[in-house]
Amino acid sequence: MKPLFLIFGIFFISISSLFVAPQGFLWPGIAAIIEVGKRTVNPEELIYINPTSGVERDLFPIIFEAFANTMGVLTLALAVSVAIASAGTFLLWLAPEKWTTGVRSVTSLLSTIPDVMYVLSAQLVMVWIYTTFDWRAIEFTGAGTEDAILLPALVLAILPTIYFLHSMLDFVYEEKGQDYHELAVSKGMPKAHILILHISRNVLVKFVYQGKFIIGLTVSNLFIVEYLFNNFGMTAFLVEYAQPPVFFVTAMLFFIPIYLTLKLLEVFVFITTKQEVDL
């Protein structure tokens, strides 16, 4: 049921650009919409048109290259941010509690800064390092056929890490006041043991709910990061070459893996904690 809604929603967004013209909002007529629908169901024939040069090119298979690029950056960023946030939570759990309150207030302040600022600062820092130390270990802009993957992924990972760390710390410290925690401590369990085996199970469900929101945030930053690093990825197809059928196919190609991943997460949570989650 829900996938149908999503597909319909994405279709509606794709045709939304037909409703706007320089003169204002208008109704394009059913024929235009049906035309879009017809062209969508024949994806092999899809072409994309470069608006400045007017050259038509086939959409497939070059879109797979762009897709691999974008997905690589996204998965790398999410993996890095979850890893760093988990490690951070673990370390802070073993440390005195004052450090945690300090980190929490810092992260809550940092999470309100617009993401463009982080991209900006990262690029500034890279340029400064290059001009001062003449050290260019990793690519920091995409140009021609070379694409930067590591640096955009790292920059993209900054904001999710802050969000993940903030929520993880909140949840874990909430559990600290619970009865079962007191029981475990009184039984003499080591602190790390409690955290990893027992608290994680309870926190997992709430955390996975937050995760959906944070993934949405990361996806929206992903397009900005790709655009600003001049990478050849899905952003080009969604923004520059965006005729409705192209937009629809691109969006579907991009969001199907994300949707499948969320479903897998649901199954994983169900298996480990015996609770049904609806993502």
């Binding site: 049921m1 829900k2 809604f5 999503l6 929603g9 994405i10 967004i13 794709s14 939304s16 650009s17 409703f19 706007v20 013209a21 320089p22 003169q23 204002g24 909002f25 309100t112 800064i113 617009p114 993401d115 463009v116 600022m117 900006l120 690029q123 500034l124 340029v127 909140d170 909430e174 079962y180 925690h181 029981l183 475990a184 027992h198 199970r201 309870n202 469900v205 709430k206 709910y209 959906k212 929101f213 993934i215 949405g216 996806v219 929206s220 397009f223 900005i224 655009y227 600003l228 969604l238 923004v239 965006a242 937009f247 969006a251 994300i258 949707y259 904690t273 015996k274 609770q275 609806d278």
Partner: protein, 329 residues
């Protein structure tokens, strides 16, 4: 704490910043006709020095490579940024309340549909949707703009506000749903009070803190969407494009702060980094002021100490209730 919150220093400084910027911007528009000075070059005796000039040397906040003074651009853009972002946040927030509260009251069959429609927004970022809808409208054509500035501003504010409404609506609906399960509310309903009375007498005090948080978050989201659009060269109020040989890069018609950042983004790698940093600092000050205002109202505007207790409940109740897994399962 019965202190009047409008006398707190945090509230005063934050609102002072906003009021001063908006007033100065309007004075600049009405009395000086939005004139932005331009200094093509400066004659220093025998040397002729050309732009861009860094801040505090010959101009207050520096100039760009054509000699256009940044300070006056910021002044002109202040009213559009501040009033625009606050308008977007206000509209989306009121819509969320109007739709969310009734939705919370009858959560029988409608919530599933609403949540499914809203989940599209988790997958396709709001900035991309806004770009699809606003790009054709905002680009200047060969024959100039076909619509007036007011039309474009209103369209942009409405589109972004509608895009930002769904997550807020879901939040308010969930909160209302949780609230309706409280004992004193159930008793009120049993006695026979109607929905409007419950809303007014009991719901609003409960929601007050959340409403303030929501407003500041919506403002931050609004600025975020405007910045994303600016990066994609869709400037707030219109993208002026100079056609012909002497035309420069696309420029924002209203000189709004986020659009200034978007327009001057390329200059971070040149010798004029203040062109991006100055609007960015002003944007951050704006966000800090909004957070300061809502934060000080939250902390000092409440008389009851029972509100402190409410503050700890919400994080757990926002998700759907589920069974707790105990430690020794």
């Amino acid at each position: 704490m019965n202190k009047k919150f409008w006398l707190q220093p945090r509230f005063l400084i934050s609102s002072l910043f906003l009021v001063v910027m908006v007033t100065a911007s309007f004075i600049h528009a009405w009395f000086f006709d939005s004139h932005i000075p331009q200094t093509p070059f400066i004659n220093l005796g025998e040397n002729v020095v050309g732009p861009p000039f860094p801040p505090f040397e010959y101009s207050i906040l520096g100039t760009d490579s054509n000699g256009v003074h940044l300070f006056y651009q910021i002044l002109q853009g202040a009213k559009y940024t501040i009033l625009g972002a606050l308008a977007i946040a206000g509209i989306s927030f009121s819509l969320a309340l109007l739709i969310g509260i009734p939705l919370g009251f009858n959560r029988r069959g409608t919530s599933k549909w609403v949540e499914h429609t809203i989940s599209v927004l988790y997958f396709v970022p709001a900035s991309i949707i806004a770009y699809q809808l606003l790009n054709p409208l905002m680009r200047e054509q060969l024959s100039g703009f076909a619509t007036s500035l007011t039309y474009r501003l209103v369209a942009e504010v409405l589109v972004i506000a509608i895009l930002l409404t769904p997550p807020a609506t879901v939040l308010i609906a969930n909160l209302t749903g949780e609230f309706l399960k409280k004992d004193y509310v159930i008793s009120s309903r049993l006695i026979g009070s109607g929905a409007w009375r419950i809303t007014r007498q009991q719901l609003f005090p409960y929601l007050k803190n959340h409403i303030l948080d929501l407003f500041s978050r919506q403002t931050i989201q609004a600025v975020l969407v405007m910045t994303h659009l600016a990066v994609f060269v869709v400037y707030f109020g219109g993208t002026g494009i100079g056609f012909g040989m002497g035309g420069g890069p696309p420029f924002p018609v209203t000189n709004e702060w986020a659009s200034l950042i978007g327009m001057k983004y390329y200059t971070i790698q040149t010798s004029a980094p203040w062109l991006v940093l100055v609007p960015l600092i002003f944007l951050l000050l704006f966000l800090l002021s909004v957070m300061g205002i809502t934060g000080s109202i939250k902390r000092h505007g409440n008389v009851d100490s029972s509100v402190k207790e409410e503050e700890q409940e919400p994080p757990q109740e926002l998700d759907r209730p589920f069974e707790r897994v105990s430690g020794d399962q």
